[in-house]
Amino acid sequence: MGSLKIENIVKSFGQVDVLKGIDLEVKDGEFVIFVGPSGCGKSTLLRIIAGLEDATSGEILIDGKKVNNTPPAKRGIAMVFQTYALYPHLSVRDNMGLGLKQAGKPAEEIKERTKVASSMLSLDDYLERRPSELSGGQRQRVAIGRAIVREPKLFLFDEPLSNLDAALRVNTRLEIARLHRQLNATMIYVTHDQVEAMTLADKIVVLNKGKIEQVGSPMELYNAPQTVFVAGFIGSPQMNLIDAAKLGQSDAKTIGIRPEHIQVSPTSGEWKGSVIHVEHLGADTIIYLQTDFGPLTVRLFGEHQYEVDGILYATPDAGRTYRFDSEGQVLKS
């Protein structure tokens, strides 16, 4: 239980096509992440799966059953929102139990399931509190608890970590990963943060301008991006995308090389550049170079000392460059 199939989903708001034909299959127990820049349609797609928006055309199947006309509450889904969306007038316990109560489940069962969820998320001490008496991280845990209690076929997360501060974000991320292993449930997760996508997903779906750019495991996307967009979006710092003409290569439009796949030397190398800025992150040192063909970012592991305005020579690792044609598609070498 818990598979999802999307067939040729199109969504238009008036003249604007937000989603331009999305096909996707999610297997039972998979953790799938939709990632993309703002406005790429990832949240809209999630809301269509949830049933909060109607698709203009196309079909949604949950467990092989068409659910286009099924209301959200009957789809067997649960959703966690970016803004937590807890009911302000209800206690934590009632927030978690409301869905089951509406579904007409007996009070005993509601109590039992709430207890399981609250102990899973260490919320036992807060059950009688109102959402306004909780911190941001606790609120988000309650929101996740509310989803768990429903025992859904499909968990939907809409940027659940965006409102949390950095430290809490990492903790909650681990929590979600743990829950996924523990519950073995199918989860669909929307984020614009590629770190979240890389760390959590079994499968990442990269969306851009209402279309799927590429679907694959995190390492597939990192090692074998199919398009210039995916190459630039996955990986931090961003991949260097260099105009091929400036490098004297005529068979490709763009050359891509990740900052971590470049070596530098003060004496000799393929490309000469002057240092604009150096960032020391402890584990990494990031060097920004200005070269004849434009800016170049280099990421070195460990600590390195280079002076601003100094001259450095950069050399790309063999076999680690990507070539893209004028359509943005990768060229096989």
Partner: protein, 279 residues
């Protein structure tokens, strides 16, 4: 403590302006109240004088209460105002919810149409309203007044509440939908409690013109059984002789209930504001 840069002169001027406005606004009320406690001669001799023991008199209140019907007039005013506010808030909020929550063809146009009443005074339609009430057999009933006042209050209510409802988080409503709440439950249980401050504002703006209105009670419900307090006070104003003691006493009494209602709503208003601030 942070030191603000406002100069004492500027603060003084602002306070001066606000204080003089307050004085101007409260002066007629003050005059009404003090003169209602004086005897007739001193009202005319020294209208600005305070009711000292030598001129103190409750004759106005005695006249008003002896008239007997005044309790009924109060009750009429109260029923009309309370029921009208209830309907204005209920229907206004419902319309606002539809306008702010659902996308449908003609949404903006419908919103403009509903807000049109803010700009067009309802009294322009008095003749047509009277004809309608006569045809419906509602003349001299409180129902007639309630219907007119509900219509009068709705445009502003829809306008204000629509704007407020747009600020209610979509996620919250969607969470309710996923938990299986009906649209009615979402409206009554999630949205209404969150826009309570706005409802209080609308209630105050709706209540005061209704309570003070003389026009529609005079035209639609002038019978003795349906008189409102404002209309009832007019019996003491004659063409040749006016019983000023009684008029002033009646008006002073008329202030009390509306003041109480105002205090109730304004506390809601303040509570709403502070609840948002410490969130």
């Amino acid at each position: 403590m942070a030191k603000t840069t406002t100069s004492p002169v500027r603060t003084g001027l602002v306070h001066l302006a606000l204080l003089s406005y307050t004085l101007i606004a409260l002066f007629p009320v003050f005059l009404t109240v003090i003169n209602s406690f004086k005897d007739r001669a001193s009202i005319f001799r020294d209208p600005l004088g305070l009711p000292t023991p030598s001129v103190f008199s409750l004759v106005g209140y005695e006249t008003v209460l002896k008239q007997g019907d005044f309790m009924l007039y109060f009750q009429n005013s109260f029923i009309v105002t309370a029921v009208s506010i209830f309907f204005v808030l209920l229907f206004g909020a419902m319309a606002a919810f539809a306008l702010s929550e659902y996308r449908f063809r003609g949404n903006t146009l419908m919103g403009l149409y509903l807000a049109l009443g803010i700009m067009i005074p309802i009294r322009l339609g008095t003749v047509a309203i009277l004809q309608g009430m006569v045809a419906a057999g509602l003349v001299n009933t409180l129902t007639a007044l309630i219907l007119v006042y509900t219509a009068q209050g709705l445009p502003l209510a829809v306008f204000i509440l629509t704007e407020f409802m747009r600020t209610v988080s979509d996620d919250l409503k969607n969470a309710g939908r996923i938990d299986g709440l009906s649209e009615y439950s979402i409206f009554f249980r999630l949205v209404l409690p969150l826009i309570r401050p706005a409802m209080a504002t609308v209630a105050v703006f709706t209540m005061i013109p209704i309570w003070n209105d003389l026009w529609f009670p005079l035209i639609l419900a002038p019978s003795d059984a349906t008189k409102t307090i404002t209309l009832g006070s007019q019996v003491f104003i004659g063409q040749f002789v006016t019983n000023w003691n009684a008029v002033l006493a009646a008006l002073t009494l008329a202030i009390v209930p509306v003041l109480v209602l105002y205090l109730i709503f304004s506390r809601q208003l303040i509570r709403g504001i502070t609840a948002g601030a410490v969130k």
